[in-house]
């Protein structure tokens, strides 16, 4: 009886100074008080400073006239547009360079990463040199190198370098023929969509057939035929509506065609080269992370080396690769803010100009932070979906 009484009692914790619950409660209360105190102090100071400097607050300035020009505008914009529109133009520019950079960096990164694992000594060494050079140099320096070291010393427009397909390269950027979509070119787009849908359907049916009967179907070549053939057919049927506007050389400049400015070009090339070095290392680690037994077991089943890579090694390597790949994509997006150093009008550059003109630093920095946070969250959400599809499905 007595022992039961002792057990039902609260254990003796000694002095309540040593009670972890009370200690954590006291500590957290202190933290909260400190936090609120400093926030209150900061807010007070900000209000005080803003009043002293006669700076307005609030987001009303977004409707004001911007009054500055932007060199590259994917959507209609003049200096009469609003500050809000200027920031949106910057945001779109950021997204353009980030997406282009991500695609190119992934391609270069996979090629170099696989190259580093090659049996071929020469290829392996070239890829190693590439990775070790770009990984250890600041991205900003790479951007400057492309901008002032390579593109700025290209010939003047008069002596442009001719490239295949009627494109030109000179100090003012890269010019290539732009397509002019005539009447009836919507048919081509429709054909492309139809072709994609059919290719998907064929792949789906082929997989089902292989699962039930074991017979294979040449999905790849059928899809290629569909995706290339159908739009071409539509192009011919609608009477060749697409014409090309070739850049023409005049005395001082090139006219016509589509111009890619050196600011965009150097930022895009630099971000791609720089991030590709990191992606290459991730890919290499991923492929090496697949144990050798997997390859050997696949070979024992009689798969050819191409099939081993495609069906056994790559799916498993992708599981290791995707999470760090995501953070590289995020890094690339964030590094695109270095655009400000060479004058590519990305989000940071336009928001910075707005911030300087209006003096509304708090709102300007807040907008930048929120937009970059949203971009990061969207990228990681997309990659999480990809990751979930790739993840090992266990019982």
């Amino acid at each position: 009886m007595a022992s039961q009484e002792i057990l039902s009692e609260e254990p003796n914790r000694g002095s309540f100074i040593n009670d972890p619950k009370i200690r954590s409660l006291v500590f957290q209360t202190l933290v909260v008080i400190l936090l609120f105190g400093s926030v209150w102090w900061v807010v007070n100071n900000v209000i005080d400073n803003l009043q002293r400097l006669h700076i307005a607050s609030g987001f009303a300035f977004l409707k004001g006239r911007a009054g500055f020009d932007i060199s590259q505008t994917p959507i209609a914009y003049t200096s009469d547009s609003t500050y809000g529109r200027a920031i949106i133009v910057g945001l779109i520019n950021t997204i353009i360079v980030a997406v282009a950079g991500i695609v190119t960096a992934t391609i270069i990164g996979f090629v170099v990463g696989i190259g580093r694992l090659s049996q071929n000594w020469l290829i392996q060494k070239i890829c190693t040199v590439y990775v070790e050079v770009f990984r250890n140099i600041p991205p900003l320096l790479v951007i400057f190198f492309w901008y002032s070291g390579v593109l700025a010393v290209l010939p003047a427009p008069r002596d442009s370098i001719h490239l295949p397909f009627g494109s030109y390269l000179n100090q003012r950027g890269f010019y290539f023929p732009s397509a002019i979509w005539g009447d009836g070119s919507w048919l081509i787009l429709v054909a492309l969509v139809v072709a994609l849908a059919m290719a998907w359907f064929v792949a789906h049916r082929a997989r089902q057939r292989q699962l039930t009967t074991g017979q294979q179907f040449p999905v790849f070549w059928t899809s290629v035929g569909l995706i290339v053939g159908l739009p071409l057919l539509a192009y011919a049927l609608s009477g060749f509506p697409v014409t090309f506007d070739f850049p023409k050389q005049s005395t001082f400049n090139l006219t016509g065609g589509f111009q890619v400015k050196p600011e965009f070009l150097s930022l895009y090339l630099a971000l791609s080269c720089y991030t590709a070095a990191f992606i290459a290392e991730i890919v290499r680690a991923g492929i090496r992370g697949v144990s050798k037994g997997q390859t050997e077991a696949a070979a024992a089943l009689g798969l050819r080396s191409g099939s081993i890579l495609r069906l056994v090694v790559v799916p498993q390597a992708m599981r290791i690769v995707i999470p760090p790949l995501t953070s590289q994509y995020l890094n690339l997006t964030k590094n695109s803010s270095l655009a400000i150093a060479i004058g590519y009008p990305d989000l940071t550059a336009t928001a910075g100009t707005v911030l300087n003109q209006t003096g509304q630093a708090v709102e300007g920095v807040l907008i930048m932070m929120v937009v970059y946070l949203i971009l990061s969250l969207v990228t990681s959400a997309v990659m999480n979906v990809v990751n979930a599809r790739m993840a090992l499905v266990e019982r």
Partner: protein, 385 residues
């Protein structure tokens, strides 16, 4: 009866035969590593073409045609551009780097005071070298000198205004001096701060945990430029009127906070990798929270994530070049600033200056990564599967 001893035991080893000729020598190496299959041969040819296209040009530009010394731009320009080189000449203008070397190292630090950063650099190397060599004893004292005494001495020497040393404003600092001091302080602050944030993120106290998560995820979600904008534009607004911060100090705060958030995630990875038994073992020994973390968990966790920590250091070292954007002149900033010097404006100046800066950055980063690989091997206790 005659004894026939048919058993025979060899008493000495047969000498190893040399490998067959098809398996040794340069020919076999080439066959194995360059032309094993048809695909391999094609790859090798492509590789050779790439190397043959790039390497001779690079060597010619950087060494054979390069101009090493010279008074001004004439040595690095062609006749048509007003110089002494033949038409079509293209080579590195190391003369530019040579002439500006002092600036690249110290910025506009007064020339008669440059012995001060040099002295700090010597002290730094003298303290760092024994720290890096594992065999040298008295690591504790060494760390104390490096991380406590050196910053104080360096501050007095570099800033001046005490002990008869003339004051040098941080606005006059520049070049490698800024790059190195920013990174050193950033490294020294971000590791402890990042560790604290990581511990906070894994803490059982909900408010502390939430605050740490908010801080880490916000900072990691935005670019460093935005953080630098934040500290250079908003920090002055946060303080009472009249109180101003030095620009250099603001950059330091920005870089350190940024690196700390990344460091926190690296350290958290290490903390998560430590088996629960280690925590429970420490608890059952009666250790308090700080004893448990300091004596049992962190030594193991930090060792696990050395590569990640060094990667963060390397990243931060490279990121210091971004202070250029809030108009401070680190190595890259000074190099870029000098492109516009009319005395040296040539088509080769930008390229030469940038290649020089890239080389300096590369040396430091490559050195750090190699040292981390060495440490990783040394600390490997063989438990890794």
């Amino acid at each position: 009866m005659q004894e026939h001893d048919l058993s025979w035991v060899r008493t000495e080893m047969v000498l190893a035969e040399r490998a067959p000729t098809s398996e040794r020598g340069p020919v076999a190496w080439v066959r194995k590593n360059l032309i094993a299959t048809t695909g391999d041969t094609i790859l090798t040819i492509i590789g050779f073409v790439i190397v043959a296209m790039i390497l001779p040009q690079v060597i010619n530009w950087a060494f054979l045609s390069a101009q090493w010394t010279g008074p001004d731009r004439t040595v690095c320009t062609t006749v048509a551009q007003g110089g002494i080189q033949q038409d079509g000449w293209s080579g590195a203008c190391w003369a530019f780097v040579n002439a500006k070397f002092g600036q690249f190292m110290f910025g506009t630090y007064p020339i008669e005071e440059r012995w001060r950063p040099i002295l700090v650099a010597i002290l730094f190397v003298a303290l760092l070298a024994p720290m890096l060599i594992p065999r040298v004893p008295r690591k504790g004292l060494n760390a104390l000198l490096l991380f406590v005494a050196l910053p104080i001495v360096a501050f007095i020497l570099l800033v001046g205004g005490m002990f008869g040393l003339p004051h040098v404003e941080t606005a006059r600092w520049g070049g490698l001096l800024v790059t190195l001091s920013l990174s050193f302080v950033g490294i020294a602050v971000s590791l402890p701060l990042g560790t604290m944030l990581a511990l906070g993120r894994r803490s059982k106290m909900p408010i502390v945990k939430m605050l740490c998560i908010i801080f880490i995820e916000t900072v990691r979600g935005i670019p460093l430029i935005t953080v630098l904008f934040f500290v250079s534009v908003m920090l002055p607004l946060f303080l009472p009127a009249g109180v101003t911060f030095d620009k250099f100090l603001r950059a330091l705060i920005g870089v350190s906070l940024f690196a700390a958030a990344y460091m926190a995630e690296v350290v958290r990875g290490g903390l998560q990798a430590i088996p629960k038994g280690q925590y429970e073992g420490a608890d059952s020994l009666g250790l308090g929270y700080w004893q448990k973390m300091g004596l049992i968990v962190l030594p193991q966790a930090l060792k696990l994530v050395i590569p990640g920590i060094v990667n963060t250091f390397i990243g931060m070292f490279k990121d210091t070049s971004l202070v250029l954007i809030i108009s401070m002149f680190d190595l890259l900033g000074v190099v870029k600033q000098n492109f516009s010097d009319p005395n040296w404006a040539t088509p080769q100046t930008a390229r030469s200056g940038l290649v020089f800066a890239a080389f300096v950055f590369w040396l430091f980063c490559f050195g750090m990564s190699r040292y981390s690989m060495y440490t990783e091997r040394r600390l490997d206790t063989g438990y890794k599967r």
